[in-house]
């Protein structure tokens, strides 16, 4: 094995580092460190000049480890790694030491200690660099097809967006019809457009699209594999079909909460949910003259803390619908707060009030009470503005309930190795920055599967998910950064801790040359190191963050304390 030759490049970053840290001292110090055969300072290591110096010294000095002490790896690491690569050095033999954000900028008034700290950080970086190993990145082809699970508005929109790019799409819908939850909805707020006007053409386009194969009355039964190459089994009427896809979009939607036990729902026939109300009257039928709509049923309570987001709008829509049918109708909306966000819905709310819908605020501590023996006859409520109890005679009570996660989300989340949030909805990788991705690569989410979302939101999320899902297929290749876990099969005892700890299902126990041992599926591994820390014997290691590398950093720092080194 060639001798380890570490080159250290210490950056002044103009005055940013050099103005506080005595960079030449750090360079001098670096030269005394074990295995360091070359050290220099640069005004800007990231400049053309600095980068070419790295490349030159790799060639001239035969450097086989590069340490740059400058800014944060979060910005320039790729740049320096590329320079190493250009000089023929595997880019994983590079180590970054941050002496700007973590040193000069935060100890501006103590140059002596800042310099000392910079030296120690370089010492630690060099100690780790000595144990770096060249790595190869895992690459695999992406199968040019996508799976969309769920044939509601979100799923259909995503399928079309993908198919229109020429990507083969498999759309799996559990019902016998496309359309999802809103099939039961008669009109859509705030346009009051007939749902069918939106749904029918969308479904037709999906069914007719040559790039989309639609599976109706079907469910995904199993998923294995990883980004670029998922094997999916879909069951239709007892028949199982295997599909191969590169990416997957989850658009399974949600369902309306059936508030059994609340407001005598399930007990009295004329206490119904919004969706039931719409289903009941969509086909015609006598509209009741006096209706109380109770909002926030089963929402924003300790057991279900979230707001359904558009249930208020639904209540307003149905209230308006009734008032327009029968201007003499008496429609009460009992609410906690009215979430009429955005210009259109606020106007919609105004219109409801103009039409004579009565909005009454109730207190969650003293909720309305439904009266009547066989049927709901009246609703008693503490009127907050009037400060007294009123009893409203009604022919019907409509309960506005939030969307809730589907019961079988858990099954799908296990299959796809993606997480669910505490309310049972699918949980995105990052609320703000990766809102429609999962941290499991190649799987995306849109629509009400993620949280209650209305149609415009579902559609835009669907387009976003489709765009994301098409990227790997377009690129044709996925590459995994070589910081993944590896198991030393000779010393693994197969205790299975790693299997439990892996958030991505990337580790399995398998029978191999050395008996049963853990095995890491590199394509699924995200390089978090959860499994490595859980491995008692140290058989599981993370490339670039091995026990040996981290321990050498700890040791290098501890060594400073023995007084032998400055």
């Amino acid at each position: 094995m060639p001798k380890t030759r570490v080159g250290v490049f210490v950056c002044h970053c103009g005055n940013n580092i050099g103005g506080v840290v005595r960079v030449p001292d750090v360079v001098e110090y670096a030269r005394t460190l074990p295995n360091v055969t070359y050290a220099e300072d640069n005004l800007y290591t990231c400049s053309e000049e600095g980068l070419s110096s790295i490349k030159d010294q790799i060639a001239k000095e035969g450097l086989n480890r590069i340490v740059v002490a400058s800014c944060t790896p979060r910005t320039h690491e790729p740049l320096f790694k590329k320079a190493c690569e250009e000089a023929g050095l595997n880019k994983y033999l590079f180590e970054f030491v941050n002496i700007r954000e973590h040193c000069s900028w935060v100890h501006m008034h103590d140059p002596a200690m800042a310099t000392q700290k910079a030296k120690e950080l370089v010492r630690m970086g060099v100690a780790k660099a000595v144990h770096l190993e060249p790595q190869e990145e895992f690459e695999s082809d992406v199968f040019p097809a996508a799976l969309v699970i769920g044939g509601g508005v979100a799923g259909m929109s995503a399928a079309l967006a993908l198919a229109n790019q020429g990507i083969q799409v498999h759309l799996v819908e559990r019902e016998q019809e496309l359309g999802g939850l809103i099939r039961g909805v008669q009109t859509l707020f705030p346009t009051e457009q007939d749902t069918d006007e939106l749904l029918r053409p969308l479904a037709e386009r999906v069914k007719a699209h040559p790039q989309i194969s639609v599976f109706l009355g079907s469910e995904v039964e199993s998923v294995s594999g990883f980004i670029g190459d998922f094997d999916v089994s879909v069951r239709t009427d007892g028949e199982v079909e295997g599909l191969r896809v590169g990416t997957i979009v989850v658009a399974t939607g949600a369902e309306e909460l059936k508030p059994v036990g609340l407001y005598r729902y399930g007990e009295l026939p004329n206490v119904v949910t919004q969706l039931e109300f719409e289903e009941q009257f969509k086909s015609g039928g006598d509209v009741p003259r006096s209706v109380a709509i109770i909002n926030c049923v089963g929402a924003r309570i300790p057991q279900r803390t979230y707001c359904g987001r558009f249930c208020c709008a639904t209540a307003i829509k149905n209230a308006i619908w009734m008032m327009e049918r029968d201007p003499e109708a008496r429609v009460y909306v009992l609410h906690r707060d009215v979430m009429a966000y955005g210009v259109e819905i606020e106007e919609f709310y105004q219109r409801a009030m103009e039409l004579g819908v009565r909005f009454l605020r109730y207190d969650v501590e003293s909720p309305p009470e439904v009266l009547g023996e066989d049927r709901a006859k009246a609703v008693k409520v503490q009127h907050q503005l009037m400060g007294k109890e009123v009893t409203l005679p009604v022919d019907m009570v409509v309960l506005t309930t939030p969307l809730v996660a589907r019961d079988d989300n858990g099954k799908l989340s296990k299959m796809l190795k993606v997480p669910l949030g505490s309310e049972g909805f699918f949980l995105e990788a990052h609320l703000k920055l990766r809102p429609i991705e999962f941290s499991t690569d190649g799987v995306y989410v849109c629509g009400a599967a993620r949280y209650p979302s209305n149609i415009p939101e579902s559609v835009s999320q669907a387009y976003a998910a489709a765009a994301k899902a098409s990227i790997p297929i377009r690129e044709g290749l996925v590459r995994v950064e070589a910081i993944t876990a590896v198991c030393d099969e000779r010393t693994c005892s197969a205790c299975g801790n790693c299997v439990e700890a892996c958030p991505f299902g990337a580790v399995e126990l398998q029978q191999g040359r050395f008996g049963r041992t853990a095995y890491v599926n590199t394509a699924l591994c995200k390089g978090c190191g959860c499994c490595v820390a859980a491995c008692p014997s140290g058989a599981m290691q993370q490339r670039g963050f091995s026990d040996r590398q981290v321990l050498s950093m700890i040791g290098a720092l501890a060594e400073v304390m023995t007084g032998g080194v400055e």
């Binding site: 299975g496 008692p536 321990l551």
Partner: protein
């Protein structure tokens, strides 16, 4: 019981149901029973059962992985917790073992007996169970020693997976109970109550004494790793000399590794030649695992080990 045991084992060997049977036999020193491996019917009569069989034999089943056939083993209720964990941790298949359950009325702690009698343990020639006490013979004299004075610590908190699927039982195997005023974690709580400097001083003294003979590790059922972290050469976690800092590291890392694995069998403390109260270290881990994560090792077959599991609402003092 002993006769019944021998009868069962004789039958197992005659039928070829097991390659050998792991039980206890009398040591040349009358005050103790030691592990015994019986592969021939002629040796069956060596097998004994009594109050000197506190040792957890479970670790010995791992050898069955190298055999074509099965091994038979005598298991007290507490020992089965190790078997549950070994199966759970994929170290042995249930069907490699023929498990014989033995009803246990508590086991003698040699060190305690020595203290209670005030004579060296070697002078004890016989110990027999007698309900609420043990009949102990020293020389010509036999006297009854109350159980609460000499039981192994673990016997005061006897529990075992109730529905462990034994293949054969020598009687109804139920947890042993004793009326004694011993708290579940008494020894741990006593230490916890000390000021922190005194705890440090206490443990430093213990760890200083450690000669790193590795007996605690080798005797531990859970230390089945093909290569122990401490034996790795690259990186080397521990310096070879048994210096205080290294010993401290050894014991603390072991304690962490045993979180969710330690089944309180007491082997580590039993075998420690320098009497380090390892039980108090591992009991602490058990206590915290129970209190923080509501987990107890060896009780259930299908629970996820506590450190590779979590609840969204776990305590969070780190905000």
């Amino acid at each position: 019981m002993q006769d019944k045991l021998q009868e069962v084992v004789r039958k197992l060997l005659a039928e070829g149901a097991v390659e050998y049977f792991i039980g206890y036999c009398q040591s040349s020193q009358p005050h103790r029973a030691v592990p015994c491996f019986v592969s021939d019917e002629s040796e069956v009569e060596k097998l004994v059962w009594g109050p000197l069989c506190g040792q957890n034999l479970s670790k010995y089943v791992l050898r069955a992985n190298e055999l074509e056939g099965k091994v038979g083993i005598l298991l007290k209720g507490c020992d089965t917790r190790a078997i549950v964990e070994l199966i759970k941790q994929h170290q042995i298949e249930r069907d490699k073992i023929v498990a014989i359950g033995v009803p246990c009325q508590g086991q003698v702690d040699g060190r305690k007996l020595e203290k209670a009698l005030g004579v060296s343990l070697e002078q004890v020639t016989n110990v027999e169970d007698a309900g609420d006490g043990f009949l102990v013979t020293v020389g010509e004299e036999t006297k009854k020693v109350p159980k609460e004075e000499v039981l192994l610590d673990k016997c005061f908190r006897c529990k075992h997976p109730y529905a462990f699927p034994y293949d054969v039982t020598l009687g109804e195997v139920v947890p042993f109970t004793i009326e004694a005023d011993v708290g579940e974690y008494a020894a741990v709580e006593e230490l916890e109550a000390l000021p922190i400097e005194e705890r440090r001083a206490f443990w430093r003294k213990q760890f200083e004494r450690c000669i790193r003979c590795n007996a605690c590790r080798e005797a531990c059922y859970a230390c089945y790793c093909k290569e122990c972290l401490f034996d790795r050469k690259m990186p080397r976690w521990l310096a070879a000399p048994p210096l205080l800092s290294e010993n401290e590291m050894y014991h603390l890392i072991r304690a962490v590794h045993l979180a969710g694995r330690c089944i309180d069998c007491g082997e580590c403390q039993r075998v420690c030649p320098v009497n380090i109260p390892l039980g108090s270290l591992y009991r602490k881990i058990q206590k915290d695992v129970a209190e923080l994560f509501d987990y107890e090792a060896g009780m259930e077959m299908d629970t996820v080990p506590p450190l590779v599991n979590f609840e969204l609402d776990d305590q969070d003092p780190f905000l």
